[in-house]
Symmetry: C2
């Protein structure tokens, strides 16, 4: 309150998917698109600091990737910080980009999220995914991320007597939304029958309950709110930021059916923003697996524990439902290039709140929430955006 | 100016060296020591956010290490961000910790730097060190970090007609200082003759021109300046922060005998702090190799290009010289656990400016500069500290 807010004035997004582009090309494409998206008067020489969210998947440039961003974004000389909080890397990168503006330290900041996952073998990919899980217990027992979320899903269905159709409906909805998003990895609707009949990956989760392996990048340009109208008539403001953490291993947590890090982050973000949940028109949540979307809706405070399944089956979270969730297709259909996701979610908030989302536009969207999770809930960010 | 400054009220430091401690134990030790070092009224429940600088060396917990810090520091629930800018990881972690306070977002923030390097084979260690160099050219041509700095040293000696004794004197001085530091990896003086006669690693750099492979951690507790006196009568203020970047590969840079990232960072830090170089009593610079200390003295603006060798040979940079450099022994003798170094340097500033550095105390120290470099100069931070 009373602090200088950050405003987004430009955003860029590559296609997500199995892409021929190299890491450097992906970074370039996202940043160039963000710069080109600013309505007027912008040049990259204005950027005073940058943040890069990436897991460094496949070890392409495991250390010092920030310098590569400086090179590819035409920002040599400008400080760049690599932030790594597993799948929440870009959510945290965005957080610190906004704080760099809020602190008065910088006027113009670039936040980029990025991952290149499809340049290694599937065996090595399993290793690279595993590095964000708990090393000492989960990896020791061979537990993959699908395995961890499978345990959470099994418990959730049991505790709340929730039908598996609720999970399937998350996939159906997100694939339907993805079909309207030209950047999505999957742009094809799927039927509930197909989802339910698919091979199991980690019971009760099947193939269509899991997000894909994706390449991609997204970039955001943030400025101090007082200068936003120099660049556009329609800036989108960062209204509130929240973040939290939890224990790394699922077995150490208080609950298997809620993420405490999300709860903490959401509470803080709404306190900072000073508005109510009821004034938010849509959510971008971290649906790395279908169960994760149900947990997120509850942990963010938009449904009572155990009620998100029914809400989903009623159609409330569809694009034209009363609370659209993941209008861009979510991690499920849009894809989940690990370090890119938090920035991609903010891109969607930016585009939707400006009414520029085309076929997937959420009607009358003035406030949006994005939610990014690291690992299976070890960390989370929640960001609130508004047009005023 | 006029912004809320961050003040350091506590700092902890493990021994640096080849340690039996596990990564979790090292994190614990540094944080516990920092908490215990606060003079009064502190409890870890006050910490609102934390930053962890680490390269993630040896892949122990490559992703999501931030959650491990939350667990080991007793901060589960609190947002933790892992920052990775190679050897400058903790310098950048400290920067963002200070900005989180400057922004008004947090009142109490923990910054930790950490690395466990001695838990893998020397072949794998070479890999892990290599990941922070330029992947596409330097690694392709088999260039190690000693090789990169060897090229810089060769060029420097040639261009400025500097005698190799100047490099040796950096090692002699830093080993002498390390002998007075109970946390240093090497606590034994060396003679100039021994340094000059040692086996070459990457000509003109010999064994004693190179920092060792180290385990260790350091932690800092920062608070908003208005609350600093609640915790201590002798806080140390973060007076100015600066940061910069450069191209990743040496061959792409404008100069082989200066680091532009350091120059940019220093210029900014002094501008923010509002005081002159002449009012700083000592420097903690990033001497990963002896040549790096000479370059730093020049790039930071404390000597003209090519003059740092003579300054060193005159004894000006010794503990009781007119501008002490690396009173703690520097990376050279104290050790260089990659992600820990930036935090360790700030620890030294804190201890020295409070007059608590014992045998290695710099007389009348009221202002100090710390300088942390990522890779061979791809990024750098400069931080200025003062007692007022």
């Amino acid at each position: 309150m009373g602090r200088r807010r950050a405003a987004i004035v430009g955003a860029g997004h590559t296609r997500f998917g199995v892409l021929p582009a190299t890491p450097r090309e992906l970074l370039c494409q996202a940043v160039d698109a963000a710069v080109a998206s600013v309505d007027r008067g912008f040049e990259r020489a204005l950027v005073g600091e940058a943040f890069l969210g990436t897991l460094g998947f496949s070890g392409w440039q495991l250390g010092n990737a920030s310098a590569v961003l400086a090179e590819e974004a035409g920002l040599v000389g400008v400080p760049v910080t690599r932030v790594e909080n597993a799948c929440a890397s870009a959510g945290f990168a965005l957080r610190h980009a906004a704080l760099a503006i809020q602190s008065g330290e910088r006027d113009v900041v670039l936040a980029v999220g990025f991952e290149k996952m499809n340049d290694t073998t599937s065996t090595r990919r399993r290793y690279w995914l595993g590095v964000s899980g708990d090393t000492e217990w989960e990896r020791l027992s061979g537990l993959t991320f699908a395995g961890v979320y499978g345990l959470m899903a099994g418990r959730y269905l049991h505790d709340y007597d929730c039908p598996p159709e609720a999970l399937a409906e998350v996939a159906v909805k997100n694939h339907a939304n993805g079909a309207l998003n030209p950047n999505a990895q999957f742009q094809k609707p799927v039927s509930r029958e197909k989802v339910l009949a698919a091979p199991r990956v980690a019971t009760p989760l099947g193939l269509f309950d899991c997000c894909p392996v994706s390449d991609g990048a997204a970039a955001l340009l943030l400025v101090g709110e007082e200068m936003a109208h120099r660049f556009t008539d329609t800036p989108v403001y960062v209204a509130g930021l929240g973040a939290g953490s939890d224990r790394l291993a699922l077995q150490e947590r208080e609950s298997m059916t809620s993420l405490k890090a999300t709860q903490i982050a959401a509470k803080e973000a709404f306190r900072r923003a000073g508005f109510e949940r009821s004034s938010v028109q849509f959510l971008e949540v971290h649906d790395c697996f279908t169960i994760a979307e149900l947990l997120a809706i509850e942990d963010l405070g938009f449904a009572e524990p155990g009620r998100a399944g029914a809400l989903t089956l009623e159609g409330a979270t569809r694009l034209h439902g009363r609370l659209p969730v993941n209008p861009d297709g979510g991690l499920k259909a849009k894809g989940h290039p690990i370090g890119a996701t938090g920035a991609s979610q903010a891109y969607e908030a930016f585009v939707q709140l400006r009414g520029a989302a085309g076929a997937r536009q959420v009607p009358h969207a003035e406030r949006a929430l994005t939610h990014n999770v690291g690992g299976s809930g070890a960390s989370a960010t929640v960001s609130l955006f508004s047009i005023q």
